[in-house]
């Protein structure tokens, strides 16, 4: 497989990047990347290392595996570009559809991609089941109230009587003191809430939203996956004859790959063969 990289003309060919000009995500040095506002040395190092391990990056979305903050991804999106490459695959004869599809056997299959998307969206069925189970069993534990109460009471009575000089003098008469301690343990089992509770209903409500999100994510990632596969088949069996058509197809392939990466947190590109960005 031979790649003829074609730089997009509007990004310019100047070898010396002007200040603020976009740099190539695949060719920029660590220093170039670190110079981007909001990126920094450590992130630039991570990007260069990932790029080297993969043989190239298809889009900024592929960097999601590094768990970079969205602001950093935004900075990279705004200040980098990716070269489109036109592939010149040697013509090969295929006997049947199975042989054609086997060309892509090194890539993650659709079920793996669906799992990646669910993981990234945190919408796995297990997570939802866990919520529901927790909401159901939480009321097995009793509500525990511990109470300690200290009552201290003291009172003195005095008697005022005139002395010989006729002045009033105060004489203690009695005193009354109490020092009480109250300890209380209260356990409360809401057995009715084991059967059905407002908390469980709220969790079911939340679970419905999660399922909706999961269905939406799975629908979108499945569509992108097979749109990409159809395009790959077209490029293999019926490649555009003109350069413009080839470039458009390659750009569309990058776009679809980036779309899947956005939904899988870059895990899709991480699972692709290292030679193909």
């Amino acid at each position: 497989m031979r790649l003829l990289p074609l730089l997009l003309a509007f990004f310019g060919w100047s070898a010396v990047a002007l200040a603020g000009a976009p740099v190539s995500l695949n060719r920029a040095s660590k220093a170039d990347l670190a110079a981007i506002d909001g990126v920094g040395d450590a992130t630039a190092g991570q990007v260069v290392a990932l790029r080297a391990s993969r043989g190239g990056l298809g889009s900024v979305e592929a960097l999601r595996v590094l768990n970079l903050p969205e602001a950093t991804l935004d900075a990279l999106r705004a200040n980098t570009y990716v070269e489109a490459a036109v592939r010149k695959d040697p013509a090969r004869a295929y006997a049947n559809a199975g042989e054609v599809l086997a060309e892509f056997s090194a890539e993650p299959d659709v079920r793996a991609v669906q799992a990646m998307a669910m993981d990234y969206a945190k919408a796995n069925p297990e997570r939802v089941a866990g919520w529901l189970s927790t909401a159901r069993t939480a009321f097995l534990l009793p509500r525990l109230d511990l109470k300690y109460q200290k009552n201290f009471d003291y009172s003195e009575d005095f008697r005022y009587e005139p002395d010989d000089a006729g002045d009033l003098t105060r004489t203690p008469y009695s005193e009354d003191g109490s020092n009480d301690d109250l300890y209380e343990v209260k356990l409360q089992w809401r057995l009715d809430k084991l059967v059905m509770s407002s908390e469980l209903i709220r969790v079911i409500n939340e679970a419905q939203d999660i399922v909706k999100l999961r269905d939406k994510v799975l629908d979108e990632v499945t569509r992108l996956y097979f749109d990409r596969r159809r395009l790959q088949v077209d490029l293999l069996l019926n490649p555009p004859a003109d350069l413009k058509g080839q470039l458009e197809s390659e750009l569309r392939l990058l776009e679809l790959t980036a779309g899947i990466d956005a939904l899988t947190g870059g895990a899709f590109s991480a699972g692709l063969p290292a030679t193909r960005p």
């Binding site: 559809a97 659709v110 079920r111 089992w189 679970a207 629908d219």
Partner: protein
């Protein structure tokens, strides 16, 4: 016996040549336009039925662009995809839309009958009363079989979708006209183009649009110029290139133009000024076309100069005519269902097997020869019937793979975490919870120490006392109140004040509902029921689609390898979607069938 074999082969050739010659002699069409290779495929009416294609809401139209279907729903949403899955390409509420107020006033004129109304209170006394309801109400009340595609003022709605060469797709809906240059994947507004009734593409390329403000002309489908013509002020229902000219079907009859710029009315004898609703050029006869009038489909052989009624059978309310690339074949769809003629329009047969009702709007003939239908009941595809049609058992059993029964897959989709709760179960549990007690166990130890001194009597009394109390309390229902020093308060009751508003799901409840979770449970149950129904519908559609795709495998083996691969990808996509809905059960069952192991 080489001599006998040689003689036989010559006899076969002679018979074949005679048959071809006879066919040419009987055929009234230009011989050079027809290639007689084998027997023509049977008409759709002979052995086809309609199957739902994943969109069940009313749609204005369906087109093919870049190998995918693009659909305009009656609510304005544009979908792209196919039976294996649809994606929203243009939502209804796009901010860039100039005005959405029209959508709110979009009215469908409904011929309602008493039994159509779910609520008898709303039913008119006279069964023939014409009432206006909005789209949502019409959908809810199940009045789809009576939908008329007209606006509140009775004029035809300028709504539709058109696919033009180069991946160009144009949509006309309530908030204006939108165009796509990438096969319907994304759309941008077309402020220069008023609402469109019809669009035609001419060689050049040149595009002609019939709008509510007259004819527009474009060379690229993006920039449109107004053309003054006698068509201004008329409703143009259809445009079609017939021979070297383009014909316009209008409420004032046929108009003709050679370049889309200069138009002249046609006055065919006997049909002067009669409204024309649809056109279908005859691909085998330059200048030939079928023309849909209000009550009949007629024929022209000379570009509309003369019209001829070949059939005595009336066809009412035809809105779409299409002629497949098969001699003499023509399809008609409209208010009276779908009809097909295999003899150039002389006789017509109904093609309605499988359809829930007659109101249709558009036929699409795809490049692969399949026929698709758009109308009040969504999008449908004509499927070839092989033996008795059954998609829930027989077809699955006949399939070579170990297909799980549809019921099992649907059940798996309903057992997924988050949708597995039976809505009725929630209500039942709620009632049961009212009869389940709250258990309070209380243990209390109180130590009292008291000293009492009386100085005159020089008497001091010390009291030291311990009190231990245990309590077991069962409480049903709401358990508020206090008991001595221990407060048995109800946490639910404490959560909301009388004047508070709290929101559960899509509904708001007042604080007066405090402690009563019935309202929120009812709301959740309703959402859950809708979610489960949507899951079951989606799985059923995908299941049937996948069976069809697998069934068609043998048919695509004669196609180029690329088409075979794309067909396999369609099957893989349907399988992946079924797996997504069933948490992988579908593939696990298939795999178990092939390996003999339990899933």
């Amino acid at each position: 016996m080489p001599a006998v074999r040689w003689l036989c082969s010559w006899m076969v050739c002679v018979v074949a040549l005679c048959a071809a010659g006879a066919a040419r002699a009987q055929d009234p069409l230009p011989g050079e336009a027809i290639e007689l290779v084998g027997a023509p495929p049977p008409p759709y009416a002979a052995g086809h039925r309609w199957l739902r294609a994943g969109v069940s809401e009313p749609v204005y139209g369906v087109v093919e662009s870049d190998r995918a279907l693009v659909v305009l729903k009656a609510d304005g949403t544009v979908l792209r995809g196919g039976p294996a899955g649809w994606r929203v390409a243009l939502p209804l509420d796009v901010e860039a839309g100039p005005d959405l107020s029209d959508e709110e006033s979009l009215l469908l004129e409904v011929e309602a009958s008493v039994e159509d109304f779910s609520d008898p209170v709303d039913a008119p006394d006279d069964p023939d009363t014409i009432v206006d309801v909005d789209v949502a109400d019409a959908l809810e009340a199940g009045l789809l079989d009576a939908v008329e595609w007209v606006g509140a003022d009775g004029a035809p709605l300028a709504r539709g979708i058109w696919s033009l060469p180069g991946g160009l797709v144009i949509v006309s809906r309530s908030d204006g006209v939108w165009s796509s240059s990438d096969g319907g994947r994304s759309f941008t507004p077309q402020p220069l183009l008023p609402a469109v009734h019809a669009i035609a593409a001419l060689p050049g390329p040149t595009y002609i649009a019939a709008t509510v403000e007259g004819v527009r002309h474009s060379s690229d489908g993006r920039f449109w110029l107004q053309v003054e013509s006698p068509l201004d002020g008329h409703v143009i229902y259809d445009l079609a290139k017939v021979g070297d000219a383009v014909l316009a079907a209008t409420d004032a009859g046929l108009f003709r133009s050679d370049d889309g710029l200069r138009w002249e009315p046609l006055e065919p004898e006997g049909y002067e000024g009669q409204p024309v609703f649809a056109l279908a050029p005859d691909p085998f006869w330059p200048g030939g076309a079928w023309v849909a009038l209000a009550e009949r489909v007629v024929r022209t052989d000379d570009g509309g100069l003369t019209l001829r009624a070949d059939s005595r059978v009336p066809l009412y309310g035809v809105r779409s005519l299409r002629a497949p690339t098969l001699p003499g074949r023509v399809l008609a769809a409209g208010d009276d269902g779908v009809w097909e003629s295999a003899d150039g329009g002389v006789t017509w047969k109904p093609l309605s097997d499988g359809l829930p009702g007659p109101k249709q709007r558009q036929i699409l003939l795809r490049e692969d020869g399949s026929a698709w239908l758009a109308g009040a009941y969504g999008v449908w595809r004509a499927e070839r019937v092989v033996g008795p049609v059954s998609f829930d058992g027989a077809a699955a059993a006949a399939a070579p793979e170990s297909l799980p029964p549809l019921g099992v897959v649907v059940d798996a989709s309903l057992r997924r975490a988050g949708v597995s709760y039976d809505p009725l179960l929630i209500q039942r549990r709620l009632v049961r919870s009212l009869y389940t007690p709250r258990v309070d166990v209380r243990a209390q130890l109180q130590r009292e120490r008291q000293r009492l001194s009386n100085f005159p009597a020089i008497l001091t009394t010390d009291t030291d006392r311990e009190v231990v109390a245990y309590e077991l309390r069962l409480c049903f229902g709401r358990c508020g109140g206090t008991d001595g020093q221990v407060s048995f308060d109800d946490p639910d009751a404490a959560s909301f004040g009388e004047g508070d508003i709290f929101v559960v799901g899509d509904e708001a409840f007042s604080g007066a509902d405090q402690g009563n979770i019935a309202a929120s449970a009812a709301n959740v149950s309703e959402r859950l029921a809708a979610q489960r129904k949507a899951a079951a519908d989606a799985v059923s559609d995908l299941y049937v689609t996948r069976i069809r795709l697998v069934d068609e495998r043998a048919g695509v083996r004669d196609l180029p390898l690329r088409d075979q691969v794309l067909h396999e990808i369609d099957i893989l996509e349907a399988t992946a979607r079924l797996d997504a809905w069933s948490d992988g059960l579908f593939s696990r069952t298939l795999l178990a069938g092939s390996t003999g192991k339990e899933p």
